[in-house]
Symmetry: C2
Subunit: 345 residues, 2 copies
């Protein structure tokens, strides 16, 4: 394959971190991204170049482009943390084993919201034919987060958990995993409408946090199930209130920041007397820390779940890179994963 | 010794917990306590009766009488968690070994703010003659907390810590312990005036949180010392701001609630990206969980430190039980430990 010299990409307009905290809402993507033609990157030692088939828009991407994520931005480089595509160039003999293979990847060197992405060969997962492109595009960020957090739940010996933003892709994965492991998943959602679907996935209870009887229903299920882990993607006052209402020794595991500002802690006595704690989960740290066999097993399990249909990525919209600045705000409101596709040029 | 049938005591006016959160300020002690003559309790199996010499007023006592502590109140029973005195009765043969001995004690069965207190023989520490009554009265709650938390600091391998309310009795103990262990103690106090004294105890830096340049000075010392443990007695917004300004992987160990309301967490990204965490320390849990030899070693170390003068309880006022309702509000403002003494009847 002859590679072009340039490619379309959604590139970052700013460097570093913004220092701000603003949640996920983005009214004007042109404030953060530009659609440009940039040079196709070259694969160095241990790297591969991937012709991108499609790439999801994850919450972490939105935090990142706004400069509110754990790693700094690099202006002029493509955004996009993961995707799927075909390896079209390799930087050394070892990486050449991947040439021509269809892979899922985490973009470590040049982002996935472009026609071509550059990453380490070790950041690629060779795909089974049974895995659909939509699932392959989002095979790593959410699935590895779900599997790693569920491992933490199991290490803690928890028999019940509470999860917020439970109707999200990640929330659905967690519910299915908990159900298989006989862990009661208490699903908290912000809007009514998904109760039946989440119960079908195996949620023990589905509670709508905006309902008038929410606090009473939550207290009742807490008394019955005694959940001691809160897997929280939101970080808002509701999460802090759930934590307060949960039993002694509850661990609040914060893995996302959908809220625009942090919560107030009602009472430090929760920590002193009740032995509660707050901690975080970040996939980037897990990827650095997890032993290679643990990571490989999680990647393999994720692929198997998508191949067999246990998990399924619900795609709400498919948006061309060229149309992204215009179309993303509306697409992201649809309730499902938005996929970016390079388009015809 | 012939024991009287009744005794003076400061007894609790309410049962259970209040459900409120109100900090330490108490304008009217008569709202929470009554000065009464009550029956002298009888020692059961494994218990001893102690003729109280004196007993401190600790922050935990104030939280407790207001119903804001980790264990529920029992109306009509004496308050007071610790004290010193002489064992005058024993409930069984084993406990009789303590008869006539001068002890420090944690009051497990009937509180120390009375002429006589009832407790388990195992909750008594037989005193060396070299330990002054003022030190013996406060030998356990603060000292064991300081030693147990410093053990946690050392287990974490920390080379520097931040402590709030650093001019308190407990703060001073922590500073001295950290200094001996070559751990840099960054002392945060709310009012100026104690800087020289705390530096003499070995504080690496003493910062006044109400000073105009506080944030800048704190940032500077954080850059130099990289403290990753915050030992916090306050639980206010200042503590949350210190936590926010401290490096990645900082642990906020909350052991007190001097503040009247909980703080707002600026950013859940502290937990997700920076790997920070919040946890609590409660002496009651430590006493339950610590292996007997660990507890005995800590009690022995505390006594040795007071006997040799490494630690010293600064007594601000001595108040008779009969005068406590009237005199405690003013005495507690003096800045030093207030001791309750049974008085002549």
């Amino acid at each position: 394959m002859t590679l072009p010299d340039s490619m379309p990409a959604l590139v970052l307009r700013h460097d570093g971190r913004s220092g701000a905290i603003g949640g996920l809402a983005i009214a004007d993507f042109a404030q953060w991204l530009a659609f440009e033609r940039i040079a196709v990157p070259h694969a160095g030692a241990g790297q591969v170049l991937i012709s991108v088939a499609c790439s999801p828009v994850n919450p972490s991407d939105l935090h990142y482009i706004k400069g509110e994520y754990g790693q700094p931005r690099r202006r002029g480089t493509p955004a996009g943390f993961e995707g799927t595509g075909t390896v079209v160039a390799a930087g050394d003999a070892d990486a050449q084993a991947l040439l021509g293979r269809r892979v899922s990847f985490l973009a470590s060197a040049s982002g996935s919201w472009a026609q071509f992405a550059l990453t380490d060969a070790s950041a690629c997962v060779v795909l089974d034919d049974a895995v659909r492109d939509d699932d392959a595009a989002a095979l790593l960020v959410n699935p590895l987060t779900a599997l790693a957090m569920m491992a933490r739940v199991q290490e803690a010996g928890a028999r019940a958990i509470v999860l917020t933003a439970a109707a999200s892709q990640l929330g659905r994965m967690l519910i299915a995993l908990a159900n298989e492991r006989a862990i009661a998943a208490i699903a908290v959602v912000r809007r009514a409408g998904e109760e039946v679907a989440l119960q079908a996935l195996g949620a023990k209870a589905v509670l709508v946090s905006t309902a008038a009887d929410f606090a009473a229903r939550f207290d009742a299920v807490v008394r019955t199930e005694k959940p001691r882990i809160l897997l929280d993607a939101v970080g808002d006052q509701t999460a802090a209130d759930l934590f307060q209402a949960m039993p002694a020794h509850t661990r609040w595991v914060s893995y996302g920041m959908l809220a625009e500002s942090g919560p107030r802690l009602a009472h430090m006595g929760q920590f002193v007397f009740s032995g509660k704690s707050i901690e975080g989960f970040w996939l980037s740290r897990w990827l650095n820390d997890a032993p290679a066999p643990v990571r490989a097993a999680a990647e393999s399990e994720a692929q198997c779940r998508f191949a067999t249909g246990t998990w399924r990525t619900r795609v709400a919209a498919r948006v061309r890179l060229a149309d992204a600045l215009r179309d993303l705000p509306a697409a992201l409101k649809l309730g499902g994963k938005v996929m970016l596709v390079p388009g015809e040029n």
